[in-house]
């Protein structure tokens, strides 16, 4: 019998806070009837406002959800409510699934079998090579244009764009056409810098320098070491298919979930989940994308901070390797102890320098630190017992950090960057508290 999930685990599947709240209200016997659970399925009838109760089914192996309600949220509050009820022991075990649940499960199995049996379209190696060639040419031509644009900026003077917040939009659009979305994204972010207040020319020139470096590196792609070439390609925005990544050798480990951060103002809303191997200490970043910013249906976006997942990870090419795809899972996320703290601040800084030496375009790197949060201006600081401190960036509510700390050092996981440390999770005893 598979272990019942914890409340936190169930709620992490919720597409938004309102769904979680609504689901909690449904997590009690009264609206439910004819509930049951097997090792892989949970089902029940939920009385709603209409005459016919909703049929709600959850396949725990996916997890996958099915509900006859009209909600467009996924999973809906009924599926979550049913899981919460089950999680609290409120759903009796049944020897066999109810008919409608069985029918749904069977159709899923059939579909999966059909998909597996369907012959994969034969890769036309020649056509693929040709497409890759065309793309490389397009990117090369685009980056040559970028290089001319950058030199013009420096030659004519940055002061010409003072106060503008869209000066690079045109060249950014050109980079989209040239199939270099990574470069386009950097240009869009730089576009607003001249309107960002004191010191903007320095920030703009630094950004131009990085772009110039990227264009120069891309021009020599053939002679770069393969791993570094992959790093350059990833920053330019060449896509790597998940399928090809899953063919990379697996790293089998117990992965501790360090933290989850949603980037909702990105072009496509993204959930970033940071992991660290318990034995190797190796970091990994799993990305999940959803245009609506609702990550509920994606199992890669449902890893509760502070749990540990036994799974195979496959890393995307590039160095230092960080982004990864989750392959085979060998269990569900399970409760875990807080992470070890590998470095003090000085060593963390050395680690960061080593990351930049391998990837000069890296903007941040995962870190687990131990320190005391201290109020300060313009930012709070995380202080080491020795009395050294680093700025805390983008903390929604630093007082939560202070409350957990009580003036004593706490373990914090987050993103280390050139400007400071962005905390994502703090450990309160053995409990992981998202920030």
């Amino acid at each position: 019998v598979s272990a019942r999930w914890s409340v936190e685990q169930v709620l992490s599947l919720a597409p938004d806070p309102a769904s979680a709240s609504a689901a909690r209200k449904l997590a009690q016997p009264p609206p439910w009837s004819d509930t049951g659970a097997t090792d892989t399925l949970v089902w029940g009838l939920c009385a709603g406002s209409g005459k016919t109760p909703y049929q709600t089914i959850v396949d725990l192996t996916g997890p996958a959800y099915k509900c006859s309600c009209p909600s467009r949220k996924f999973p809906c509050k009924h599926a979550l409510g049913l899981l919460l009820l089950w999680s609290g022991g409120g759903v009796p075990a049944a020897p066999a699934p109810a008919d409608y649940a069985k029918a749904w499960q069977d159709s899923r199995v059939e579909r999966a079998a059909a998909a597996a049996a369907r012959p994969r379209p034969q890769r036309d190696e020649q056509a693929a090579a040709k497409r890759a060639e065309q793309r490389a040419q397009r990117v090369t031509a685009g980056l040559e244009e970028l290089e001319i644009w950058l030199r013009d900026q420096v030659r004519n003077g940055l002061s010409g764009v003072a106060g503008s917040y869209r000066h690079a939009e045109g060249i950014a659009a050109r980079m989209i056409d040239a199939q270099a979305p990574g470069v386009a994204g950097r240009l869009r972010r730089l576009s607003t810098v001249p309107a960002s207040g004191d010191g903007w020319p320095a920030r703009l020139l630094a950004g131009y320098g990085q772009l110039h470096l990227l264009a120069r590196a891309h021009a020599q792609l053939d002679v770069l070491p393969p791993e570094f070439a992959a790093t350059v390609r990833s920053h330019v925005g060449y896509q790597v298919s998940r399928e090809s990544v899953l063919e990379e050798p697996a790293v089998r480990e117990d992965w501790l979930v360090l933290g989850v951060r949603d980037v909702l103002d990105a072009t496509i809303p993204t959930r970033r989940t940071y992991l660290r191997g318990r034995q190797s200490g190796r970091y990994a970043l799993v990305l999940a994308f959803d245009p609506q910013g609702m990550f509920g249906g994606n199992p890669d976006a449902a890893l509760p901070p502070g749990t540990v997942l036994a799974a195979d990870l496959h890393f995307y090419p590039g160095r230092p390797p960080l982004r990864a795809a989750i392959g085979e899972r060998r269990g569900d996320p399970a409760p875990a102890d807080p992470p070890d703290v590998p470095f003090d601040f000085a060593d963390q800084l050395r680690e960061w320098a080593a990351v930049l030496a391998l990837d000069p375009w890296a903007s941040d790197w995962p870190a687990v630190l131990r320190g005391v949060p201290v109020p300060g201006e313009p930012t709070w600081l995380l202080a080491e017992p020795t009395g050294d401190g680093v700025p805390l960036l983008h903390v929604a509510d630093p007082w939560v950090l202070a409350a957990v700390s009580g003036g004593e050092p706490v373990i914090v996981a987050g993103e280390w960057s050139a400007d400071g440390f962005r905390p994502v999770t703090v450990w309160h005893g053995t409990a992981a508290v998202p920030l």
């Binding site: 009264p30 320098g209 800084l349 009395g387 050294d388 401190g389 400007d419």
Partner: protein, 503 residues
């Protein structure tokens, strides 16, 4: 050597205008100066990339910070995670007014707030006074430590109990001085009064009022001289407060004067078997009467000066005067007719007196005659009277109002019934729901149900929630009560779940 600011300066103006020859760069970028692009613009971009990489890799120099104090350890355990989640959700999505009861239960069970929840609780309590006391109760050492660093939060934890500091009376803030005086009054009533009297003339008017109310505790005949002197105070509220305290001393000269005035205005007239109360209108107020707090000016023009004086004179008299004077018990006296249409004025006086003197017998009798005069100033509401009654009696009264469908008066009556509600009241709520649920335009029971959901005893929560849901399910379509019933059931479930999580 070209450093980054020089690079920025040249690039800002444009190297077409301000050419820049880069021959040397600061270490560690300096090692790579030979690879710079021959084109001057390319060279600036190359140098920018090198110097920026060096800056980002090396810039984060730890800075010294001053050591902060450490929170004292907490002995009490934190509220369990499930219960903490419920509180967090209530703070975010409401209804917040359920939180005080739940936190109170947690505090009584020996728990304190989970540390990560403290900022949300303290923030909520700064703007919601109903949360203050209970948040102070569950804040623990960690909460007090946190609040001490946040100016907005400090008053929240202070609200719990003001520490009594030895020299508070000499140098404290008003609230601290009052707390100090109240503490002394509890231990040594005479000493407290003497301390107050010693500095009396130097206190501000507001402070005199605040400190005088402290004397309500352990009030005795020994306080009379001081209080009687306060009847000559400059501030009207001080005079009123002093009068109120003197009225509670049956043997005081003030009470004797009040009795004397009252004895002159009411009498009994017997004709055959019928009795009635006859009013003798009082004379104009003299200085002595005004000193005792009688106000010659009516609050509005619809009330005559004499009638207003009559109300005040009756209100000021100890209620035990009337059975002796008029020869009958309260419940009979309130039913007697009053000559010349003075019934409402006489009853107004008695109502004020019953509420002030907290006399349940008189309050009960006056509520039973159920005067419902048109709105008029100075008429104590039924609820002010009912507040004097024992809790069970208040509940019975609210239940009776529910039964009579006097719904316009029932909300206020229910408000006056603190939790937990007894079976009779619970059944009365259920009865009125059953009666109204089939109506297409039912009485607005939302407030009744909302209050019931919060005040039903926790032991009956499961049963009541199921009952409410069943009634809602069986209600005819297009009626409005089911929604209110389901909301009430949700609140009941939430309270029960919280208590279960505490176990």
């Amino acid at each position: 050597v070209t450093n980054f600011p020089e690079l920025v300066a040249a690039a800002t103006v444009g190297i077409a205008q301000r050419p820049l020859a880069i021959t040397e760069l600061p270490a560690p970028a300096g090692a790579h100066v030979t690879i710079l692009d021959p084109d001057p613009a390319g060279a600036v971009l190359d140098a920018a990339a090198l110097l920026d990489a060096a800056r980002r890799a090396g810039r984060l120099m730890p800075v010294p910070v001053s050591a902060a104090p450490v929170a004292a350890p907490d002995a009490a355990p934190e509220i369990p995670p499930g219960a903490g989640l419920l509180i967090e959700e209530l703070l975010q999505h409401g209804p917040v007014d359920v939180v005080p009861e739940l936190l109170g239960a947690a505090a009584r069970a020996g728990f304190r707030a989970p540390a990560p929840l403290l900022p949300a609780l303290l923030s909520a309590a700064t703007s919601n006074s109903g949360l203050r006391a209970v948040v102070a109760d569950v804040a623990g050492e960690r909460g007090r430590w946190l609040a001490a660093q946040h100016p907005d939060w400090l008053p929240v934890v202070d609200a719990g109990s003001l520490p009594i500091v030895d020299d508070a009376w000499q140098i404290g803030r008003p609230a601290e001085r009052r707390a100090w005086l109240a503490d002394l009054r509890r231990r040594d009533p005479d000493a407290a009064r003497d301390v107050l009297a010693a500095g009396w003339t130097t206190e501000t008017g507001d402070d005199r009022v605040a400190f005088l109310t402290v004397l309500a505790e352990r009030l005795s005949a020994a306080d009379e001289t001081f209080l009687d002197a306060a009847l000559d105070d400059r501030k009207a509220e001080v005079r009123r407060t002093a009068g109120g305290l003197l009225a509670r001393l049956p043997g005081s000269a003030y009470s004797a004067r009040a009795r004397q005035r009252a004895a002159n205005v009411l009498s009994i007239e017997r004709r055959a078997l019928r009795r009635r109360i006859v009013v003798t209108l009082p004379p104009e107020t003299d200085d002595a009467a005004r000193r005792d707090g009688l106000d010659p000016k009516p609050p509005n023009k619809f009330l005559g000066a004499k009638a207003w004086l009559l109300v005040q004179i009756i209100a000021a008299a100890p209620l035990d005067l009337w059975p002796d004077l008029l020869g009958d018990r309260a419940d009979n006296l309130v039913s007697l007719p009053v000559a010349d249409d003075f019934t409402i004025d006489v009853h107004a006086g008695w109502r004020i007196a019953a509420a002030r003197q907290r006399d349940a017998g008189w309050a009960r009798a006056l509520l039973r005659v159920d005067d419902q005069p048109p709105p008029r100033p100075g008429w104590p509401s039924d609820e002010a009277l009912a507040a004097v009654l024992p809790v069970e009696e208040r509940q019975a009264r609210a239940a009776a109002l529910l039964g009579r469908a006097a719904l316009d008066r029932v909300d206020a009556a229910l408000q006056g019934c603190p939790p937990p509600w007894g079976d009779a009241l619970v059944n009365a709520v259920r009865g009125v729901v059953m009666r109204e649920v089939r109506a297409v335009q039912p009485a607005p029971l939302g407030p009744v149900l909302a209050l019931a959901a919060r005040r039903l005893p926790i032991e009956r929560a499961t049963e009541a929630a199921a009952d409410f849901r069943r009634i809602a399910d069986e209600a005819p379509p297009r009626t409005v009560l089911p929604a209110a019933l389901r909301r009430a059931a949700d609140i009941l479930d939430l309270r029960r779940r919280f208590i279960e999580e505490l176990r």
